[in-house]
């Protein structure tokens, strides 16, 4: 009987606790603050070289190129150097505070005492000390609080500013001493690829990520023209395949003569397999 009462009490209490838990847990809604996202761009090695290689058809600067300027700066104040010298001159005419506090001339008796003392013991300087520097006002340094890193991060302005100057100048800097093109020379293959990219007009049916590739073998003459017609190595059929094949062959024909291929390397480039691949191709469909 006692056991039953105990179990009844126990059950009742448990139920009460559970009920309380149910009620209280639903009482406060879960709050989550939206996390700030950090934009990240993935750049492939090739894209990086594209970005840093300069502009291909940049006009060669005749004289010393002007620096690139993206934004017109505020008008500059007068010459900074001149200002500094002026200030110094002003200082020179005003008696220096140190001179004011120059030590008074010691009297002869004292001199004698001093001489004597010098012989026996160390000189005790009686001269007044140079004026002390005014104490540096104690700046309250912000205490580092690890909980408020976000606040610290937000305080800064963006680090990348426009390159400012007196006048706008968007002239690309190929061949300029400071431009990257001088250091990143393009290989003949890159130039060849660029030529074909510029000439290949991919059929519209394949401009939306539809995977299709076709390999064409070209045999070149030493002067960079085609020795024989392009040989299509990939097998395929259907209007899409045919349109892709024809567009690729057209591009190869259009690119003649391939003057970027140097005759001294002829043995290497006399035969090249070109693979035209549409799998990474998207019309600007996706960018609107």
């Amino acid at each position: 009987m006692q056991f039953r009462t105990a179990s009844a009490i126990s059950t009742g209490l448990h139920a009460a606790v559970l009920l309380w838990a149910v009620v209280s847990f639903t009482g406060t809604p879960f709050k989550s603050t939206p996390a700030q996202s950090l934009p990240v761009d993935l750049v492939s090695e090739k894209e990086f070289s594209q970005m840093t290689k300069g502009v291909k058809h940049a006009p060669k600067p005749v004289k010393k190129p002007k620096p690139v300027v993206e934004k017109i700066d505020k008008p500059k104040p007068e010459d900074l150097k001149a200002k500094i010298t002026k200030k110094q001159k002003v200082k020179a005419t005003v008696p220096k505070p140190e001179e004011k506090a120059a030590p008074p001339k010691p009297d002869p008796t004292a001199k004698e005492i001093k001489k004597q003392k010098k012989k026996t013991q160390k000189v005790v300087h009686n001269e007044p000390l140079p004026p002390r520097r005014p104490p540096i006002p104690h700046k309250k340094r912000p205490k580092f609080n690890p909980d408020k890193i976000a606040a610290l991060l937000n305080r800064r302005d963006p680090q990348r500013h426009s390159i400012t100057g007196a006048a706008l100048n968007r002239e690309p800097t190929l061949g300029a001493a400071k431009a990257t093109a001088a250091h990143l020379s393009q290989s003949e293959l890159d130039a060849l690829r660029d030529r074909l990219i510029a000439l290949w007009n991919p059929p519209v049916a394949m401009r939306n990520g539809e995977r299709m590739r076709i390999t064409i073998r070209i045999r070149f003459r030493r002067d960079g023209t085609l020795e024989i017609g392009p040989q299509v190595i990939t097998h395929g059929s259907g209007p899409r395949f045919n349109a892709l094949r024809d567009s690729a062959v057209r591009a190869v024909f259009l690119g003649q003569p391939y003057s970027m291929l140097k005759p001294k390397h002829y043995d290497i480039w006399k035969e090249i397999d070109f693979t035209f691949d549409t799998s990474q191709m998207y019309d600007d469909i996706a960018t609107h």
Binding site: L189, L192, L196, I197, R240, A243, D246, S279
Partner: protein
């Protein structure tokens, strides 16, 4: 149009060489100069191109006799206009042509065409047969490869020459782009005449390029939302006959007209199933509207949705398995997709503003819609799973998108505050090449037919 013969479509030298691959391992790897093992072939991957309109020379077709001279010139003009309007080709001005083509059976002098930067060359001939029929033939040449890409001949009645020109345009389009064309097709639309407060609205039919306008109704009753049957030359539309708006079927060849079902309330927004056997539409029920499908043979009607909301503008996917529609069940007009037999619907539009009037592309890859944001009406597309939403054109009022048979071009109607009435426009799926469609007067509610051949 009777028979279509093919000739010399496979000229010599076009066969792909069945040579063994001698590629270096790793197709993506580009061998650097100097490190290549002896005997191996250098390999270069081209994964990007520069899309641009292709320069093409369309020569005046050669006439078999002086009687056909006008037709021959007309065929070349229609082809030029079609290709130009597609935005994918840049026809070269005939005044720049160096070689004058007089014999279409001879190989052209390609150097003359290369000199004017033509990449494609179209030659052709129109002759009258002894039986009175017209024979039209064409050849498409690749100027730089020096090869024939396509060549066909067609026979037809002399008054049908425009269709021949459209069919030739489609053949050229497909050979050079890899996609089917859309030139041999028609548009049904609502022709609007008269002052704004007493507009006469007639159903009209015309070729895709705006020629051959024919009126299907007399303008007595108000007509709206005509839609083509995807498999036959039949249209369905909504009309205010006597009182209640009803959905009608109209055969454009016989001009036969019938009411679809005899429903108590208003029926509207009809559209055919891909097989043309059923019509899906909205029926008004009190303040709500629900979707119903009617089998045209058995006349049996099936309810698809049952919600206290307005479900309208239903449209089948091209495989017939799904229906997309517009509903305000979630508060505002949005696009939903459900199985064609009814069932749970899923909202797919989550972009800015409201989304109305969805239309599934014949290719199945996109759904076009009318977007409504802040008083602006835009035409946009999204993928059937709701991703990739893009607005193609924006403005005061753009509405009623309809797809070209190849799913690359969208036609819609648009008007501006200053305009006295709406006009039809076409735009590429990429959002470029917006062009006004020639119509006799104001026009709205276009519907593009399937390819005629």
């Amino acid at each position: 149009m009777t028979d279509i013969n093919r000739f010399a479509a496979n000229p010599p030298g076009r066969m792909a060489m069945s040579r063994r691959h001698l590629l270096l391992a790793g197709a993506g790897a580009v061998a650097a100069f100097g490190t290549r093992p002896a005997g191996a072939v250098l390999h270069l991957d081209i994964t990007q191109g520069t899309p641009r309109p292709m320069p093409i020379a369309i020569t005046p077709f050669v006439a078999g006799s002086p009687d056909e001279a006008q037709t021959a010139q007309g065929v070349a003009d229609v082809i030029t206009n079609n290709l130009q309007r597609s935005g994918l080709f840049a026809p070269i001005n005939p005044e720049a042509f160096i070689e004058k083509v007089t014999d279409t059976d001879r190989v052209p002098h390609f150097a003359d065409w290369r000199a004017i930067n033509a990449q494609g060359l179209v030659t052709g001939r129109v002759t009258r047969q002894s039986d009175g029929r017209l024979k039209a033939e064409f050849r498409l040449w690749d100027v730089f490869a020096g090869q024939q890409l396509d060549g066909k001949q067609y026979f037809t009645t002399p008054d049908n020459w425009r269709r021949i020109a459209h069919i030739v345009s489609d053949a050229i389009y497909q050979t050079l782009t890899g996609d089917k064309g859309y030139f041999d097709s028609r548009i049904v639309f609502v022709d609007e005449t008269g002052p704004k407060n007493r507009r006469i609205k007639r159903l009209a039919l015309m070729d895709q390029d705006g020629y051959g306008v024919r009126y299907l109704t007399d303008g007595h009753d108000l007509v709206l939302t005509p839609r083509f049957n995807p498999s036959t030359q039949e249209i369905t539309y909504m009309s205010y006959g006597r009182g209640q708006p009803k959905v009608y079927l109209l055969n454009i060849e016989t001009n036969q007209r019938e009411v679809v079902g005899n429903f108590p309330g208003m029926s509207f927004a009809p559209r055919f199933s891909p097989d043309g056997q059923r019509v899906v539409m909205s029926l008004q029920q009190g303040p709500n509207a629900n979707l119903f499908v009617m089998d045209l043979r058995s006349k049996q009607t099936t309810r698809l949705t049952d919600t206290p909301a307005i479900d309208t503008s239903p449209c089948y996917s091209p495989d017939g398995r799904f229906i997309c529609f517009e509903s305000d069940r979630g508060g505002t007009q949005q696009i939903y997709v459900m199985p064609a037999k009814g069932g749970a619907a899923q909202r797919i539009s989550f972009g800015q503003g409201r989304h109305a009037g969805p239309v599934w592309s014949p290719r199945g890859d996109y759904i076009a819609f009318t977007g409504i944001t802040g008083g602006q009406f835009s035409i946009g597309v999204l993928k059937p799973d709701g991703s990739g939403e893009r607005i193609l054109t924006e403005g005061f009022h753009n509405e009623g998108p309809t797809w070209a048979p190849n799913g690359r071009v969208i036609m819609f109607f648009s008007d501006n505050p200053g305009d006295a009435g709406p006009h039809l426009f076409t735009i590429d799926l990429s959002g470029r090449n917006k062009l006004k469609e020639p119509t006799p007067s104001f026009a709205s509610d276009p519907a593009w037919s399937p390819l005629l051949s």
